[in-house]
Symmetry: C2
Subunit: 319 residues, 2 copies
Amino acid sequence: MASVENPASPTAEGRLAQEFAVPSHVEAERVRMAEFAEHHGSAGRRVVLITSGGTKVPLESRTVRFLDNFSSGRRGASSAEYFLDSGYAVIFLHRHRSLYPYTRLYSGVNLLDTLQMEGEGSSGQVVVDQVALPNIRAVLKRYRAVKEAGLLLPVEFSTLSEYLHLLKAAAQALSSIGPKAMFYLAAAVSDFYIPASEMPEHKIQSSNGPLQISMKMVPKMLSPLVKDWAPQAFVISFKLETDATILLERARRALDTYRHQAVVANVLDTRRGYVVVVTSDTQAELALTEEDSHKGVEIEERIVGNLSAAHSNFIAQQG
Amino acid sequence: MASVENPASPTAEGRLAQEFAVPSHVEAERVRMAEFAEHHGSAGRRVVLITSGGTKVPLESRTVRFLDNFSSGRRGASSAEYFLDSGYAVIFLHRHRSLYPYTRLYSGVNLLDTLQMEGEGSSGQVVVDQVALPNIRAVLKRYRAVKEAGLLLPVEFSTLSEYLHLLKAAAQALSSIGPKAMFYLAAAVSDFYIPASEMPEHKIQSSNGPLQISMKMVPKMLSPLVKDWAPQAFVISFKLETDATILLERARRALDTYRHQAVVANVLDTRRGYVVVVTSDTQAELALTEEDSHKGVEIEERIVGNLSAAHSNFIAQQG
């Protein structure tokens, strides 16, 4: 049997430092996030860090090939909107080019199919076809208001290494506001990676025959995050499985191991209409009815409603 | 030493049939492509099939994780525009959500940052900020003209299996127009995959310890494409390496093996400003000067110019 790492091991942070070089922009991002948290914290606002999208795991150091996770970033992007509606300030730590709050509503359309020219030649207005971009005025208004109030701070990652270091930087940045910080870890983070020392520099040649890839387990950052980096914060992790029969047991096991506040458990095929929010002593099923779906209600509205209420209780208990 | 497959082996087509299940929509796409080719062929137009973007290789049958190739689809999308400018009809076989002709020019901007509301409340126009979307009127005009003339047929793939079967379908569809068909194979196709029979059904559990992935070589479709599916066509493949020292030798070897018309050879770091078009008896270096780059000239304009001239000669020789 393969050896199982102890995820509560104090070496996760050590492994991060040793095995993943710090990208050069992380310190500047940490400062931006800390300023954002302090600003909104002192205005009495709660701040949520949302992670969203999948991580890229290079197989070669000059990367042509990489391992990725299935994730459009839809859940993170829509949740960001509901957190903003609930009065939170949002740090949106997302995969480059994954879905983005508000813009996500139009991700399936080709921009050039939604525009109409007025006038002739090179001058004249270009106008939006409001049938092709439904609700565009309302969405644009909301997007503008959020942007002008400075309530949404986007931070981007592509590789696993960028994600891990930016998550640590975010946790440090949010520690100043204590229990008013929420971590909503919806990103699909790789469990496996190839250490830089074992990676070929150049593109792997197919003429060398079949490919054997040997991947190491990624250190579990939830452990130092909960214990050391942001011990007062309200922390939510996500558990996605394809096999419904093992889901709740895995969610409980994660809570037992990391001692954070909640796990949002979901199954790949039904994730848009059904999740279970698991805490140490509760288990709340959130589900959309057919009528909800017809009306365009999103499950993220329910998830955010459930968690922001739980966050209120959490803050009250700490106070 | 690992065994090297003979890429010219007649079994590539057999392996495609045996190892990759045919996706259900392939036959309908074949019919669409055949109608497109016949329509434009009988109007005296040449037709180019451009493949673009990377292929997704699932590691699990209910896919959470996959192997991918670095490719935004920029080269394919911009080349499509220059082929359209040169009078070709274009079948654009591209990775879902990779860059698309014309729209690619605005891929980096957030749609909602480019729009301005006129009037108040829920009515009134929404107008494009033409500073945020430079040249939008000219681009929109060109996009519309191409669309109205029916000169661009988009076909999408995501997985390697979809790509392989759609490529075969495209080759069959284009065989009716003989030497007037060009294949411009710019997609970044995986060299490796995991056979369905060896794939776990469910998400691989990280608690099982380190991951060993064993991948098989993908059958080389260039071989049946050139020999059987579209033997009269003008076929271009691409060779991307990270190591410049092996590039030209690899390009020559590909030409020797598959006996197609040209290889566009390029190195990852310099691919936007320098390529070599290699044929059995010529080697043309195409490079942008600094002045070209300042003016916004793209290397794809040069590549398409070179290849469409070569295609003219090729057609004349066959006639």
